[in-house]
Amino acid sequence: MQARVPFLIATLATALVVSVGAVQSPQNRQTVPAVRVPPTVERSILDVLEAYSSGDDLAVEQWLATPAGRSQARYVEPVLAKTAPWSRARAAFILEVTIKQSTRGATILTAGRTMVIGRPSALGTNAAEDRFEVLWHQAALGLLSSLPQVSSLVEYINIWSARLEDARTRGATLGSRVALSRAFATAILCCWTRTRGEVVRMFEGPDREGMTIESALVQFERAAEAPALAAEARIRGGKLLFDAGRKNDALAWLERVPAHTDPALGYVQHLTHARLLDPDRPGDAATSYRTALTFSPRAQLAGIGLAAALLRSGQPEEAARAAEDARRMTDDVAAALPTFNKGDARLVPEWLAEIRRLRR
């Protein structure tokens, strides 16, 4: 499963990238002209929905694997819009289509968000439906986090934050990751240039939309106030500072990371820590590279870093052994950094699994 996650994330990104600009507000949706759905297509979509609602987790994937399914997928939004507006199964169905569908993903995601927000019970009044909604929005934000265009992510964060704030004013406080998502989006806006969603480079130009690295750090600090988010917020803040060349600040952030067991985060945390130490303290860097490898034993970058640090710290035999190991680390775990750079996209498979359980 672990090896499949980067592939799944890449699929998610591909599924959304074409029409990302189409994450529309509910108001904008009113301008979309009505689509005439052929009756046979509507019947086919409703059949797939019924199978999925009955517990067939693979119904959507199998349908969209067929030429007919792929051509019919563009009618999912109008078909669901004209029928009963809310059920967890319908919302989950839309998310599944969003993940698998390759051309209208973001548009369908918007339809799904409208459906979820339009659920009959108010947020904070039904624990099961609250959990489902939180997961659904987190998954949507995760999908949007993997895209180069950050404006869609920011818009969604604003809508979801407003809904959470509304619930809070009514006395319902729900745990969410939205603070971390906002800090992540600000970090992209202030500081990163993405290349096809894979590579990030520090952005070397004027501030974008008034965002600065300091504003991103303030938001990471805020996110770190939630214990469940603290480790990731501090790691992401430290990595941002490392990328910006502020090494002492980066070290200070990483040294405040609380204990955690997340392999993906642990790998990036200790790889970054090692790279911070590497130029001046290769012996200590080697220790951090080794720790990174405990989180991701076949991660080649940590293996290369370890070998080089050992060589520069005067241990050529150990360096050569580490290099031999690194040469054989050919799994796709090297995608750990690109995956980290896609924010919550890495967690979508896990959330989708829970959404499937809650849809019935």
């Binding site: 080649q300 060589l311 050529p316 035999e317 050569a320």
Partner: protein, 298 residues
């Protein structure tokens, strides 16, 4: 010389050699040399060429002068080494490498394999974003499949992994690294690779596919090669890679091996090494120094 290959000369005209500081006490292979000692011995490979990059193979020990941290050293042992070679060939298979490029590389690897002796060994690695060992260190014949390409180009990551070779006292090692020079995804920066190369024991020859490497990348790659006593070779045409590899291999095989026991210098820390020859018209390449002992690193 091979007039179709232009070489960026290493500014200090010195060349690589397998450096090893050997706490020798019987570690030296007696078969190759009568030299034995119970003290630390430094081994320096020295390549000497004329203005056309043709190796000069008729020098004697007295033609060389060697300084360790500016202190003149007595060369204890000298030969044109008969020890077997370990050759690491690292090849760029990123998307920017065309099918023609990869076919050219396959032919070059096959020709390198043909030139190796039965006691020699070679490994072949390829890289895009990741570096993969395609052929583990093995005796010839060496074959490699380069049909697949990968996304991204992590030149400095691959170079960092390539220059780290074991300090074997009974074998000589060199690295042949081929790329088009367009780095897009390296995690490790060039300064770290250059610093690591100072500690490496294998001369690294970097062969650049023509007209693709940005000037800044070429400069950084030159620095890496120079630290190891290697060189950069820029191809002018696709058909020259085999010759470039073979020339680098032959230059290394015909290079000299100097051994000395450091005198008048500290036993620890970084040592600058300079090697010169009497004939100032010749080019000398050797590694630029070595670490004498294990520093703390902390």
């Amino acid at each position: 010389m091979r007039p179709f290959i232009s070489s960026i000369s290493v500014s200090i005209s010195i060349s690589i050699a397998a450096l090893a500081i050997l706490a020798v006490a019987g570690v030296r292979p007696a078969a190759q040399t009568p030299f034995r000692t119970s003290t630390d011995v430094v081994v320096i490979d020295v390549s000497v060429t004329d203005g056309r990059r043709l190796p000069i193979t008729n020098l004697t020990k007295d033609d060389f002068a060697l300084k360790d941290n500016d202190a003149a050293q007595q060369i204890l042992d000298f030969d044109r080494e008969a020890m077997p070679l370990d050759v690491t060939v690292t090849i760029d298979v990123s998307g920017s490498m065309t099918r023609d490029d990869r076919e050219m590389v396959s032919r070059a690897v096959a020709q390198v394999s043909d030139r190796l002796g039965p006691a020699d060994r070679a490994r072949v690695m390829t890289f895009a974003t990741m570096t993969a060992e395609r052929t583990p260190l093995a005796h010839p014949p060496i074959k490699v499949d380069l049909s697949a390409v990968g996304p991204g180009t992590a030149i400095f990551d691959a170079l960092l992994l390539s220059v780290i070779t074991p300090p074997l006292p009974d074998r000589r090692q060199c690295v042949l690294f081929m790329t088009d020079g367009q780095d897009t995804t390296s995690i490790f920066d060039a300064s770290l690779v250059i610093d690591t190369a100072r500690h490496a024991s294998a001369p690294t020859t970097i062969v650049l596919v023509p007209n693709r490497a940005p000037i800044t990348t070429r400069g950084l790659l030159f620095s890496v090669a120079a630290q190891t006593g290697g060189e950069i070779v820029e191809l002018k045409g696709h058909d020259q890679l085999s010759q470039a590899f073979l020339t680098a291999l032959e230059n290394f095989r015909t290079s000299y091996v100097l051994r000395y026991s450091p005198a008048g210098v500290s036993r620890t820390g970084w040592h600058d090494v300079t090697v010169t020859v009497k004939n100032k018209d010749l080019r000398v390449r050797a590694r630029r120094g070595y670490w004498a002992t294990r520093p703390s690193g902390r």
